[in-house]
């Protein structure tokens, strides 16, 4: 099977060994808490990380394991750990290597939950963050401190859609001996394999395009296997003996997957944000059609960009595929297939008109998710980004008239017809 390495083939087969007992073609759903050990020696070697194997589904589960291997293969990483949500993935990835007194340099344009984690939660444990405009690459270099241990950003920023200059950021990371962690949710490995451009870790909310059907919450951390943790003494959680496992040195024992192993040994064991086997099964189903869905998401996006750009009720349209977008050249470089299926646009008439639009579309669902097969719309200022203050709102590029659109797979003529109703209502409101 390792002879077949192309993306669509991997999205169907990677990680799955056909069930040896019955030959079941689909991955069985191991909805079980624990595993009967054949003998005590096997049990103790599984507990000591001396051999692979399953002990308890908080740590590993065979169904979740197939998903982990599949995502790692698609991303071109050394290993992956799946988690109960995308936020759990981010939290586990950061806390695997950072602790009290450490520092992050992060993009200002990120999902509100990521910003809140770094701005409100991590400081309570002594981890601070300097936020930098993602278009200001030099600003990332300038923000690096002696105690900086992580550069973090979203390849396609949320919701401004500015693209990180990943190669330049990776160079800064390499020069500073700091890993670069990218939230790759909006691009998925189909649009950009971030490790090819020097990123060291990716995190995903697989709830979104990876799963693609709005059925299961989940996250993933992928270890790029390309960071030299031993080059400095900055990363003792990876390079120093780990007491709970008889003083094992993860860097020596696991090399390119040492980071993922740390998450498995610590976060999954002591914190426990495990993905359920049923969710893993649903997400595996979703990944089987990832490229087909992404192609259709992207073609619908291009058609809607044309439609919105020429619509009289639209004051502005933002998407990196538009030549006017400041990240257009970066989008062409890193995302040649297309720069994702999120569009933001302004409805003429400001806040009230934006609200009227959202309340009068019918096919497009008003909800706080993206990457569903169904078209979704939301008003970020009052929902996803409502818990961050006014200054941060401006910094994140959010205006009060902004509608964020996650383009779905419906017939695009129907999406347009639906939007016409929304725009008519917005027009009535703005005329007073």
């Amino acid at each position: 099977m390792s002879r077949f390495l192309n993306f669509d083939t991997l999205s169907l087969h990677a990680g799955q060994v056909v069930d040896p007992e019955f030959g079941a073609r689909a991955t069985p759903i191991y909805q079980t808490t624990s595993y009967v050990f054949p003998d005590t020696d096997t049990a103790s070697s599984i507990f000591n990380l001396e051999r692979g194997g399953h002990a308890y589904s908080r740590i590993t589960n065979p169904t979740v394991g197939v998903l982990e291997q599949r995502i790692a293969a698609l991303e071109g990483g050394s290993a992956a750990v799946c988690t109960a949500s995308g936020m759990a993935a981010t939290f586990c990835a950061i806390t695997a290597i950072l602790g009290q007194g450490d520092h992050i340099v992060a993009s200002t344009q990120m999902y509100g939950g990521n910003i809140s984690l770094m701005k409100n939660t991590l400081p309570r444990f002594g981890i601070t963050t300097t936020f930098v405009d993602p278009t200001d690459t030099d600003g990332f270099r300038a923000a690096i401190q002696d105690n900086t241990k992580l550069i973090y950003g979203e390849l396609i920023g949320n919701p401004g859609l500015d693209i990180l200059d990943l190669e330049a950021i990776a160079r800064i990371g390499a020069d500073s001996q700091v890993p670069v962690m990218i939230d790759a949710t909006f691009n998925t490995p189909y649009l950009c394999r971030c490790f090819d451009y020097g990123a060291n870790v990716t995190v995903h909310s697989v709830t979104k395009w990876m799963g693609g059907h709005g059925t299961a919450i989940g996250g993933a951390v992928v270890d790029g296997g390309n960071f030299d943790w031993g080059a400095t003494d900055k990363f003792p959680t990876i390079t120093e003996p780990y007491a709970p496992f008889s003083g094992i040195n993860l860097w020596e024992e696991f090399g390119p997957s040492a980071f993922a192993t740390r998450i498995r040994a610590e976060a999954m064991r002591d914190i426990g944000p495990s993905m359920s086997p049923m969710n893993a099964f649903l997400l595996l189903q979703g990944i089987e059609t990832l490229s087909l869905r992404m192609d259709k998401h992207l073609s619908n996006t291009m058609i809607l960009l044309d439609y919105l750009s020429s619509h009289e009720q639209v004051s502005w349209v933002n998407h990196p595929s538009l030549p006017a977008h400041s990240s257009h050249e970066l989008a062409k470089k890193y995302l040649p297939k297309g720069a994702g299926s999120i569009i933001s646009f302004g409805v003429k008439g400001g806040r009230a008109a934006g609200k009227a639009f959202i309340e009068n579309v019918e096919l497009a669902s008003h909800l706080a998710n993206v990457g569903d097969a169904k078209t979704l719309v939301i008003h970020p200022a009052t929902t996803t980004h409502s818990r961050i203050d006014a200054d941060a709102l401006v910094a994140a590029g959010i205006t009060e008239d902004m509608v964020r659109l996650s383009v779905g797979l419906e017939d695009v003529a129907d999406i347009k017809a639906d939007f016409e109703n929304g725009f008519r209502a917005a027009k009535r409101i703005s005329k007073g």
Binding site: F22, G23, A24, P28, Y30, Q31, T32, S34, F37, P62
Partner: protein, 383 residues
């Protein structure tokens, strides 16, 4: 081994590859064969014909009933259908309990009768009436004991004897008591049928059915129908039912104890005209029930004085008890068979078999007995 041990362990062995203590959910359509020559060597080809998760449930139910094989189905009705299709054909005759579940009556009179199968609806609570209904071409006797909703009981041993003499198969719908309380094979029956939706699942989570056979010959006939008609159970349903079965005896004991207390409460209540519960001394077939089963179950019916109008008043006002179809779950349910479960049975037929207009059927759940009684008492006060 005892029932409680078997309800947990029968049919389930730790997954040989991972040790997973629970049977995985094999949500798969097909099975990769090692080679042409080894086709079927691992036991499965296509999930209509067999599925490892469904198989685990089938093994468990076979063990609990003490039979030789079990075939699971998408619903209890498809289990009844499979039994009829396995043992009947055009020109054959079946004797069916005249108080069988309304769906069984509908299946017989409205569907299978179109294919040249002849039915007699007999009062199976009277074995002599069954003997009298036997014809040369009788191939199947289908009883349901206790019956839904009249609670009439059929003498399994006596009817099995009649069936044997007639060369007919005796199938018993054992849904109300489950093998924990009643094991038809020990009394001579050939087939045990279940709506696993009821006590086997127990949590209102799934619909499913099962046919357990007590001989290889009958098992083969039922399996053939299962595969060729495709009315199968899904792996997800089988998995949930496997979990439900683990607490079957504990739920049955607790729910039956509550049912006994509720039956006694209702029997003593001035606004209640009559109560039917096999555990009551006043129940006409109390002796038969005590003889052929080790428990009385958690189903009963009563009639409020004032008939249909009073019964409706009670059901519209009652709290805690849900006005809902289904039975056997941990949630207590209350139903009006005449307008709900048995609406398809003609009024003349209902009256003849004792499904009177004012009959209120209750399925006693797992809530605290005193809460259930208080809710009934409050509702009766409002009648």
């Amino acid at each position: 081994m005892g029932f409680r041990t078997r309800q947990i362990h029968a049919g389930v062995t730790p997954d040989p590859m991972t040790g997973a203590i629970l049977t995985p959910i094999y949500q798969t359509t097909t099975y990769v064969q090692p080679s042409v020559d080894e086709y079927l060597s691992k036991g499965f080809t296509y999930s209509r014909s067999g599925n490892p998760t469904v198989k685990a449930l089938e093994l468990k139910l076979t063990d609990l009933e003490g039979g030789v094989d079990c075939a699971c189905f998408g619903t209890g009705m498809s289990a009844v259908l499979a039994t009829m299709l396995a043992f009947l054909e055009a020109g054959k005759h079946a004797i069916v309990s005249d108080v069988a579940y309304g769906g069984t009556y509908r299946l017989s009179t409205k569907i299978l009768s179109r294919f040249g199968i002849d039915y007699t609806f007999a009062d199976t609570s009277n074995a002599a009436a069954v003997a009298a209904a036997v014809r040369d071409n009788t191939a199947l006797i289908l009883t349901e004991t206790p019956a839904n909703p009249t609670m009439k009981c059929s003498d399994i041993a006596a009817i099995s004897e009649i069936a044997k003499k007639a060369g007919a198969v005796h199938a018993v719908d054992n849904t109300f008591l489950t093998p924990y309380y009643q094991r038809p094979f020990e009394l001579g029956a050939d087939i045990s049928i279940h709506s696993t939706t009821k006590y086997m699942d127990g949590h209102n989570a799934t619909v499913g059915g099962a046919v357990i056979s007590n001989s290889e010959e009958h098992a083969t006939a039922v399996r053939f129908i299962q595969n060729s008609t495709g009315t199968i159970m899904s792996p997800q349903v089988a998995w949930l039912t496997l979990q439900g079965c683990k607490t079957l005896s504990v739920r049955m004991d607790a729910q039956s104890a509550s049912a006994m207390a509720i039956a006694e409460f209702l029997e003593a209540h001035p606004k209640v005209a009559q109560v039917a519960y096999p555990g009551l001394k006043s129940f006409a077939q109390h002796e038969l029930s005590s003889k052929q089963a080790s428990g009385y179950g958690a189903m009963l019916w009563f009639e409020v004085k004032g008939g249909l109008v009073a019964g409706k008043q009670l059901m519209d006002n009652i709290e805690l008890w849900s006005l809902a179809e289904n039975l056997g779950s941990v949630e207590s349910l209350i139903t009006h068979p005449v307008t709900m479960t048995h609406a398809d049975v003609e009024k003349a037929e209902r009256d003849r078999v004792g499904i009177i207009d004012g009959l209120v059927r209750v399925s006693v759940g797992l809530e605290d007995t005193e809460d259930l009684i208080k809710a009934l008492s409050d509702a009766l006060d409002q009648v």
